[in-house]
């Protein structure tokens, strides 16, 4: 059953040095506040998992929390590069970053396999590409009925998955809507999970087809309004596109980034 904790306690309890940590949310509902709390608690040697690393992984990498990343598209959407990610890969700063990279469909299906309790998933992908040559989590399988050759991807089971959602009820059930990405699969794939929420409500609206994560598959819930900024929460906030564009300058140089980190993460209990 989900435990209501402060964000600080939730990260202290569930995110450990060396963990495989998935932070999901596809453009929408990205758990930035939790990412910043991980930076503040100076976690090290994390393996970050995210389809689109986005600014949140750029910040964690630049802050020195991660030594490996499993991902499928690492850019600043609509803006350009993730400079801290590039600096780690191109120059090993603040230290080297091992990569296990996939296509969106491949990484998605790694979560699906784990959420389904299966060791692998099958898809049409990777044939003939260099991507499959650099990953030990891609293989081939033969269809036992047609003889077709298909891709297999290994199930991915994070130690902890962190997401942001619109609502939790007082029993600890979580509800989210709009673009829901791979949040359900990444939570169900993980050993533990933390959900930050915009609001805690007495009960949910009667929308039985919304995405619900019941209390008994969530480890901790933290009430963090605005906890996905500069991403957005449909019904609560808009995406801060200016922030995404400004990040290009804030992150390009190491010293500017470190200054940002000092003033906007370490010195603050929360960042907006």
């Amino acid at each position: 059953m989900a435990e209501f904790l402060s964000l600080k306690s939730a990260v202290e309890t569930h995110v450990h040095d060396g963990d495989v940590v998935a932070l999901e949310g596809f453009t929408h509902l990205i758990p930035f506040a939790a990412g910043h709390e991980i930076i503040r608690q100076r976690r090290r040697n994390l393996t970050l998992v995210r389809l689109t690393p986005d600014l949140i992984c750029d910040q964690l990498i630049g802050a020195g929390c991660a030594t490996k990343m499993i991902f499928s598209w690492g850019g600043n959407p609509g803006v350009g590069s993730l400079h801290r990610f590039r600096d780690a890969v191109e120059h090993g700063w603040p230290h080297a970053l091992e990569l296990d990279e996939h296509t969106h469909a491949g990484l998605t299906n790694r979560f699906v396999a784990a959420a389904s309790g299966l060791p692998f998933a099958v898809l049409r992908a990777y044939a003939g590409t260099d991507t499959s040559q650099h990953s030990s989590t891609v293989a081939r399988v033969t269809c036992p009925f047609t003889g077709e050759d298909l891709a297999a991807v290994a199930a991915l089971r994070p130690d902890v998955t962190i997401i942001h959602a619109q609502q939790a009820d007082r029993a600890g059930n979580v509800r989210l809507w709009g673009i829901t990405g791979v949040q359900k699969e990444s939570v169900l794939a993980a050993s533990r999970s933390i959900v930050t929420v915009e609001e805690i409500v007495d009960g949910f609206d009667d929308d039985r087809n919304a995405m619900i994560l019941p209390s008994w598959v969530v480890s901790a819930i933290a009430h963090v309004p605005g906890g996905c900024h500069p991403s957005y929460a449909a019904g609560y906030s808009d995406r801060d596109n200016d922030y995404y564009e400004a990040w290009d300058d804030l992150s390009r140089e190491r010293d500017v980034f470190e200054d940002w980190l000092e003033h906007h993460v370490y010195e603050n209990g929360s960042v907006r």
Binding site: T27, W73, E90, A127, A234
Partner: protein
């Protein structure tokens, strides 16, 4: 209309290629602009599908990201990412895929992963994203990218996305169902696969460009169609609507 940029010619040429398409899987940047322009111009019913899971998005301004709230609130429906890839893209339900890249080779294979070596890249690019499966599954793919010897290369630094592999027959050997890239549109001209060799061949020159210009901006020994034509210039309506789209956006960033 006199003045227009090569980027405008390229985007407008790409939007024309969407005539007759029912649905288009759209990436951010040039593909998104071209697809939204097609909706405004000649394909009002074109179903735009973004990999964030928004199907039938009808944005009134160009989205900055593929998961903008604008896409979700204007969509016919929104589904999960596993569903978009497994139920909608993979079975070939989306007619056309629009792609860009950092490097392309003569067989329309794409690199969006690294410049330089994989282990020690000089430029680390974003990676695969949805492109490989879009190019695998969509019955046809359209590639849009600016052209130079750095982007149109003899040999890719990294093969992220298969176009026609090593040429005729490669796609079927690799079990790829769709036809592959039917057209490549650059800021200089339009290229289509040769029906025999599947090498991307210059079939149309944008106004102002010469074959020599294109050769100079191509890293391989360029094949030119014997039926080479000139790309019709952007019409006033096309330019007007494209500029209106840009003006309505909160950004002109194109990546």
């Amino acid at each position: 209309m006199s003045g227009f940029s090569t980027d405008e010619t390229m985007t407008i040429a790409a939007s024309r290629e969407l005539a007759g398409a029912r649905s288009c899987f759209v990436g951010i940047g040039l593909p998104s602009i071209a697809a939204n322009l097609a909706r405004a111009l000649h394909a009002p019913g074109l179903v735009l599908v973004y990999e964030s899971g928004t199907v039938g998005a009808k944005p009134t301004r160009l989205p900055l990201s593929i998961g903008d709230g604008e896409l979700a609130t204007t969509a016919d429906f929104v589904i999960s990412v596993p569903e978009i890839f497994n139920y909608w893209l993979q079975p070939g339900r989306i007619d056309v895929g629009m792609l860009g890249a950092a490097q392309i080779d003569r067989f329309a294979n794409l690199n969006t992963t690294v410049i330089g070596s994989y282990e020690r890249p000089s430029v680390r690019l974003p990676g695969a994203g949805g492109a490989p499966e879009i190019a695998t599954a969509c019955p046809r793919a359209i590639i849009v990218m600016r052209q130079s010897k750095r982007t149109f290369v003899d040999k890719l630094d990294f093969l992220t996305t298969i176009g026609f592999g090593d040429g005729n027959g490669a796609r079927s050997r690799l079990g790829m169902p769709g036809f592959g890239p039917r057209v490549l549109i650059s800021d200089l001209g339009i290229f289509r696969p040769d029906p025999e060799t599947f090498e991307m061949t210059l079939t149309s020159l944008h106004s102002g460009a010469t074959v020599a210009d294109v050769r100079d901006a191509t890293g391989w020994d360029l094949a030119v169609s014997k039926d080479l034509v000139e790309t019709p210039e952007p019409t006033e309506e096309e330019l007007l609507l494209l500029r209106r789209l840009h003006a309505a956006s909160n950004t002109n960033a194109v990546n």
